[in-house]
Amino acid sequence: MHNMKETMKKVTGYHLFWPLVCLGVVLLFNLIKTPSFFQISINNGVLYGYLIDVLNRSSELIILAVGMTLVVASSGGTDISVGAVSAFAGAICVYALGTGETYRMPYLAGMLLAVLIGTLCGAWNGFLVAKMKIQPMVATLILFTAGRGMAQLVTGGNILYVKVDSFKRLGSFLPHVPLPTPIFVAILVVVITTFVLRKTALGLYIQTVGINAKAGKLVGLNATLIQFLTYAFCGLCAGIAGLIITSRIYSIDANNAGLNIELDAILAVALGGNSLSGGKFSVAGSVIGAITIQALTTSLYAMKVTADQLPVYKAIVVVIIVVLQSPELKRMFNTVKAKRASSKQEGWWHNG
């Protein structure tokens, strides 16, 4: 009995327990509502099915959530410019490659340029937050506003199409590979990030600065540099996400590419059990959070909810999560518990 309780405590105490429960609930819901959700078929040598679709569609969200996780962890703030930066990076890539029958410059160079632009945008945000000490939301509001404008500047306000076929591969399939490419990119980003965080002390540094920047400085950390790096990295992730978004539709629509995706990325971080006030973080949690959001989206689509109505359900999920996480609720709960305990004690006193 006691052991059981201990085990339970250990299980529920595991940092990915609640994120996994959330994902489980969504999947269970599907199992009952739309059993076909779990079918996977092979067509023309590639895999099809809702599950594959969830993973595929969540790829860019996962990539952004990874970057956002580190930004939240190090600064206790959010980068609201990632959607606009993705659009800008995508626009740069398309512009660089050109809309002709052949590329204007090597495909790889175009991609690198886009990622570089993303990183520069992130570095600018990082400069404002870490060095100028501007609140993250305000600092990133600048690029949030300017990003799409600059993207439109690059595209001349038109939707630009890339005609070369190889451009589609990043957003769809590589030859003879049964899984969509974005999944591999997302895995690559997650694995490399995790590797760097594990093999260097960066993960520890980020948490330390996020939890107690003063103590961090006294043990010799450069809090400014660390925060700056997380923002630059977040920009890099936005650049990569922008490439995938662009490649999916082999075009760039500066107004709509990655629209509102920053909000989903923040939500993914929160759903992953990460505190939005910074400190300890789990990249794996954010990945699960991103998949949960996409699973929820896909299952609602499967239930004929339109894309426009989707936000209502998302909002309800957000409110439930944040209210459950709110320290005030815990305090109220504890007061009730304490009152009950004290009345119990009094009862015992009278009996005795």
């Binding site: 330390t208 107690n212 400085k217 043990v219 450069n222 300890k280």
Partner: protein
């Protein structure tokens, strides 16, 4: 003593925090029109007494009487205390800097006209209230345009205008310069004339002897006594605060151990005219290998600031620092660490522990930072180090992955100590390492300090407890009001000498 002269009595006040007796049967009496200093070192219970009085904390036993009210009063909040005529002005001014001076005096009770705020009347009244205290400022300007001193006066004006009988000034002078302090004293004397009782919490002896009528001294949560200022010489006051009777002390001399005595070792670190603006005035200090140098002075004397300046935690504005014969520019703590320094900060919770991280992570963080980001200490080594230090320092923790916030204060402090020992420093700075820690751990830490020095490490030891300093230090530097005023060599270290040095100006002795 006529009873109608008394405005406030607190009788037999007790208050416990988990594991600590914060106040134990404390009495306090305040008379009409007097300035009454409340003194004591850290943990003496001054702030708890104030909090109990102002309703920030509840108390367990005892009662509080205020003139004009036959019944005992119990304040449950600062607002309630205010209604009962007790107002407080804190060191960090609790006003809104973005509002005008007048508003800060009247917000929540502003004069109205036609349902709206009557700015003209409010400004006129604010001007009058301040003029009564001899302060001439433009009341329509935002408070943030004025110095902390003026802001404090505005806070006092607000308190007084809400019909205060008792005014508590909690370390109001800590961030004021001399002329500002003078001005504050003028205001205090003006209020005194009006018959308001003032409780003045401060660490500056000079100031106590300048304006106060009486002194109540607390120590370790108990009342030491209430004294009239003229009848209590400075050295006696320091002795009371430190918990020793001066007359007893005079006869105690520290037995000087054989062999330990002044075989002057080589100089490890030398500060020349080092200073940090507004924190510590230029000082010279040499630290030898294997010595324990104590920094003594009352709270706010600059003892912590001196240590922080050496370590690069405060900006160095002038002067030079030489470590091991080489000039060293210390711009940030990491530079100091690379030069072989380590620093245990005074405020463990705010600057020491990284609350959500595990004991292991808290232990290795400094060594990791010193090594650099790319040279991660392997998991095995991390665990080995942690195990080792848990054992050496006898840290009581469930396991090494327990978040440090779940440990007791003493064990947290040991982890922080371990964090720095792991970096194998040549010079270890300990700022109040034994504060808020149980007696057993205290002794352990003191022993450890002596042992480390024996092994050749130089240690700087800062503590409010003189006994502890006498026991552990081999040389001492004395600070007063941000100035290093002298040094005491090993042979002369005694409680008596230290207190004399701290108290300064001997006219009362």
């Amino acid at each position: 003593m006529k009873s109608e002269e008394i405005v406030l009595t607190m009788r037999d006040i007790s208050k416990n925090f988990p594991g600590v007796k914060a106040l134990s049967h404390v009495d306090f009496t305040l008379r009409k029109g007097e300035i009454h200093a409340l003194m004591g070192e850290n943990g003496a219970g001054k702030s708890t007494l104030i909090k109990v009085l102002t309703g920030v904390e509840e108390f367990e036993t005892g009662d509080i009487h205020i003139a004009g009210n036959d019944k005992c009063i119990v304040n449950r909040s600062p607002q309630e205390a205010q209604v009962n005529g007790i107002s407080t002005v804190y060191q960090e001014v609790n006003l809104c800097p973005n509002l005008t001076v007048a508003e800060n005096i009247f917000i929540g009770r502003a004069p109205r006209k036609l349902g709206g705020i009557d700015w003209r009347t409010m400004n006129a009244r604010a001007k009058k209230v301040l003029q009564d205290l001899n302060i001439e400022v433009d009341v329509t300007k935002a408070l943030e345009n004025y110095s902390v001193a003026i802001q404090q006066m505005v806070a006092i004006a607000r308190a007084v205008d809400i019909s205060a009988k008792v005014l508590i000034l909690d370390e109001p002078t800590a961030s004021l310069d001399e002329s500002e302090v003078e001005k504050l004293f003028d205001v205090m004397l003006a209020l005194k004339k009006k018959g308001i009782g003032i409780i003045f919490v401060t660490h500056f002896l000079e100031q106590v002897y300048k304006v106060c009528d009486r002194i109540t001294v607390l120590r370790n949560g108990t009342l030491v006594g209430e004294y009239e200022v003229e009848k209590l010489p400075r050295v006696q006051l320091v002795a009371k605060m430190m918990g020793k009777d001066f007359d007893d002390l005079a006869s105690i001399k520290k037995p000087v151990e054989e062999g330990k005595q002044s075989k002057k070792q080589e100089v490890l670190l030398k500060a020349e005219k080092l200073a940090s603006l507004g924190k510590i005035k230029p000082f010279d200090l040499a630290i030898h290998k294997g010595e324990v140098i104590g920094l003594s002075g009352l709270l706010g004397s600059g003892r912590s600031e001196l240590a922080r300046t050496l370590y690069g935690a405060e900006r160095v504005d002038e002067g030079t620092l030489t470590v091991g014969g080489k000039k060293q520019s210390v711009k940030a703590p990491i530079d100091a660490m690379k030069a072989g320094m380590a620093f245990c900060p005074e405020n463990r919770k705010d600057e020491g522990i990284i609350a959500d991280l595990s004991v292991r992570e808290n232990l290795i963080i400094a060594l990791q930072a010193k090594r650099g980001m790319f040279k991660l200490i392997s998991k095995e080594d991390q665990e080995k180090f942690t195990e080792e230090y848990i054992k050496i320092l006898q840290i009581k923790t469930a396991d090494m992955e327990t978040p440090i916030k779940q440990l007791s204060g003493g064990n947290q402090q040991k982890v922080i100590l371990g964090r720095w020992l792991l970096t194998h420093p040549e010079f270890l700075i300990l700022d109040e390492p034994t504060r808020g820690i149980d007696v057993g751990t205290k002794t352990e830490i003191q022993k450890l300090v002596v042992k480390l020095a024996g092994e050749g490490m130089s240690v700087m030891f800062i503590s409010s407890e003189i006994e502890e300093m006498v026991r552990t230090c081999s040389r001492m530097a004395i600070l007063r009001d941000g100035v290093k005023v002298g040094e005491i060599e090993e042979a002369d270290i005694s409680q008596e000498n230290i207190m004399k040095a701290i108290a300064g100006g001997d006219e009362h002795a």
